[in-house]
Symmetry: C2
Subunit: 462 residues, 2 copies
């Protein structure tokens, strides 16, 4: 599928909302408000068979009645009317459509679905859906999601693109991303994948310069061979994090019932994912952890990790996590670092990895501890544990970590666990590009996938 056509889904100069409605209960109403109120800068045309005016705006009976050129259409009308409207879109030269409407293959109505696919093919329309939430692009403010704003927070602009067949999983992930510091590039919930499928969307994202990381929730793959062919190229260009549902036969059967996806053998899928350097997540939280590490960190020079902490126990747990990893190792301090730490650390601090700065450590002690580490070639990655419950940890310390992060090349992440006071500092650090994890295990797993991906990408084998 033509890249530029798909791109009009996200960057249309003009959009027709077919099924636009004045009734707040209708999907076509919520979508209309998305375009009117959220800062979308293109032209918006309303189409409704039964209205001449909606919310004070002119409404057209048919797409054909609009004389201007239209890039894309969002279709939110009963399933049986979709073919007719899609024909009209084709004739009007519309390049792409999102079919929000349900009532196709997911309820056994494959005939109707085949019909709209044929129409899309005839007019070479890039079609997302049917039975989907559609697309979101925080840069252009395009947003076809028919979910009320108060139900899920919307993410900031960023470099992570997310694709999912499932609308509910998609909206949950969007909501979760909004609580993290990294932002969104593109979001696509593609539902039944009747026309554009995994392969088309992945190919689009692969060539999208705004997308730094691709995150995929998948129930099934339609075109296996093409997927494998693409997979080979994909991860050489950017990291792909994937969560494949239906790994058990019971799960696969439930997936089939959900999106009529042919789940296939999970083992076969996983083998392909591993062979081509995909990062495999086992649940939604791992999907987020890994998206976060790829969004902010670049390739580490090696696998040696140092741990700097203000909590002894947390240091021990993190040491266990790193030492238990098949891929990471604990770093030894270089001579210069040792000398420097001996000078700057109070006598109670044991010069070893993990470096336990003690519960009264403040921004000054963290600064002194981290400075020699930044330039120590024996250390490839840094874990900074900050327990904000301790007496010395406050906003000054968070600022110090942010300012160190700005002058460092090697991956550096923070572990902080807690509620309000901790969350406040987590947001502060994440909005300045410091990824914060809530547990030693999630931090370890994230550094592990970072290390492994770049090992793969740089041809050093796995």
């Amino acid at each position: 599928m033509n890249w530029n056509k798909i791109h009009t889904l996200f960057r249309p100069q003009s959009v027709a909302i077919i099924g636009a409605s004045r009734n707040p209960e209708k999907v076509g109403h919520v979508i209309l408000l998305n375009y009117l109120n959220a800062g979308y800068q293109g032209k918006v045309y309303l189409v409704n068979r039964n209205a001449d005016e909606i919310l004070g705006m002119k409404s057209y009976k048919r797409v054909a009645d609009i004389k201007a050129k239209i890039d894309t259409a969002v279709i939110a009308i009963p399933a049986e009317s979709v073919p007719e409207v899609l024909e009209e879109c084709g004739k009007a030269g519309i390049k792409s459509v999102v079919v929000i409407s349900g009532g196709f293959a997911e309820i056994g109505n494959t005939k109707l679905q085949d019909e709209i696919v044929k129409i899309a093919e005839k007019y070479e329309i890039a079609m997302i859906g049917p039975n989907c939430l559609g697309v979101m692009d925080p840069r252009s403010r395009v947003n076809t999601l028919f979910l009320p704003m108060y139900k899920l927070a919307r993410p900031e602009i960023g470099g992570v693109s997310f694709m999912a067949q499932s609308g509910a999983v998609g909206s949950t992930i969007l909501d979760m991303i909004s609580g993290e510091g990294f932002g969104l590039a593109k979001f696509i919930s593609y539902g039944n994948a009747a026309s554009l499928d995994e392969v088309d969307i992945l190919e689009y994202l692969m060539n999208d310069p705004e997308t730094k990381v691709i995150v995929v929730y998948l129930e099934g793959i339609k075109r296996g061979k093409e997927f494998v062919k693409l997979a080979r190229k994909l991860t050489k260009i950017k990291p792909v994090v994937i969560l494949k549902a239906g790994r058990t036969s019971a799960g696969a059967s439930a997936a089939h019932s959900h999106t009529a996806a042919l789940a296939g053998s999970y083992e076969a899928h996983e083998a392909v994912f591993r062979q081509f350097g995909f990062t495999i997540a086992n649940d939604l939280s791992e999907l987020l952890y890994y998206a976060k590490i790829f969004a902010s960190e670049s390739a580490p020079e090696g696998n040696k990790v140092v741990i700097v902490t203000n909590g002894g126990g947390a240091g021990v747990l993190t040491t266990d996590a790193i030492a238990g990893s098949r891929y990471l190792a604990l770093a030894d301090f270089g001579k210069q670092t040792q000398e420097s730490l001996k000078k700057t650390m109070p006598p109670l601090v044991n010069i070893r990895n993990p470096l336990d700065l003690a519960g009264d450590a403040d921004d000054g002690r963290y600064h002194d501890a981290l400075m020699p580490i930044l330039t120590d070639d024996n250390i490839d990655m840094i874990i900074v544990i900050i327990l904000f419950q301790t007496p010395g940890a406050d906003s000054k310390l968070a600022s110090e970590v942010i300012s160190i992060k700005e002058r460092i090349e090697k991956p550096m992440i923070v572990i902080s666990t807690g509620t309000e006071y901790t969350e406040m500092h987590k947001r502060m650090m994440e909005s300045s590009g410091v990824p914060v994890y809530d547990s030693p295990i999630s931090a370890m797993q994230s550094l592990e996938v970072l290390y492994r991906y770049y090992l793969y990408k740089n041809h050093k084998g796995q």
Copy 2:
């Protein structure tokens, strides 16, 4: 150690704060405020060598100067003065002490530590510490923690008791518990465990009727034989969740450096934990997940789980999690349930497990779906997935789940993932006794440990 003596740590009629201070920078100041301002109902005596009056209250030079009977003392003075003061406590008939002060075995000063142990033994004082945060009891408002209130939220009253050597891990866990619906019975950070150790504290909690669940963060065990002897009895009485740090040799070495704990072989520890039905957690988040399930749920009749969801993808992921469990199984609906669901569910809902109620499901549809399940003997445990991002999910649905929870015997938990809107409903449900998990995997793991613990307890073998 005498149970009643240890009990005075949590329920003293009177307390002496030794090292009470008017200087806000001092530990003895924070602790004093804890007793004065947080609702503690007993008598508070201040002791300070250099003051006659602190914050308008009379201060005594020595414990001996106080003529009244004192149950317990909190000691926050320089290490070298502790022996002398402890002698005075003994002579005054004080039953228990918390030694907050650091500067003992953890920095190699074993001689000074041995000295205070001998004094405690001579006077049969129940001594917690040294080098610890001490104790907290939300019922009596006893609180020896010298951490400012704004740094960590304090948990509600409840049935989970938590013990940790590490102060920082302890305070992190306290903070995390405060974000959950279940509350705290007793908290003990016991530091160097010079006198009262794991075995004493576990024995106390085993016999504490307010403690329903014991949660332990452990770096090492001092008295192996006694621990094993106690372990045999302990889990027959109440569930014990344990996180043992130092599972790798690097971690064990770091633990030794931290609390001078002899970590021993993790495998040997784990074998004992498993043999005696302890629930093993692998990180702090699992510690919380498992505490939550034991705090609210009782024994399931069997291992058959049903999944009711408003998100198809979340249903698939949860099906994968349950089907992938070695201990749990997916339930089949009984005939009556099938008949009932056929009548009440809309045609699009497939009558199967997972039961996907679709994205527009509201409180009424969840009610109709759950009612027959409650009395279905083929179903032992219920997972209710609520994605609050979907159109039909709101506070009415949360209320409905709460009201169903009130009339049900079998374990029932919720999975909800999201930010503000979801968190609001999570708090609403958890404060009414409905445990809420944020991912399929944590929900599955929690039901698994619940099932396994009661299998062990009821002698059905593992």
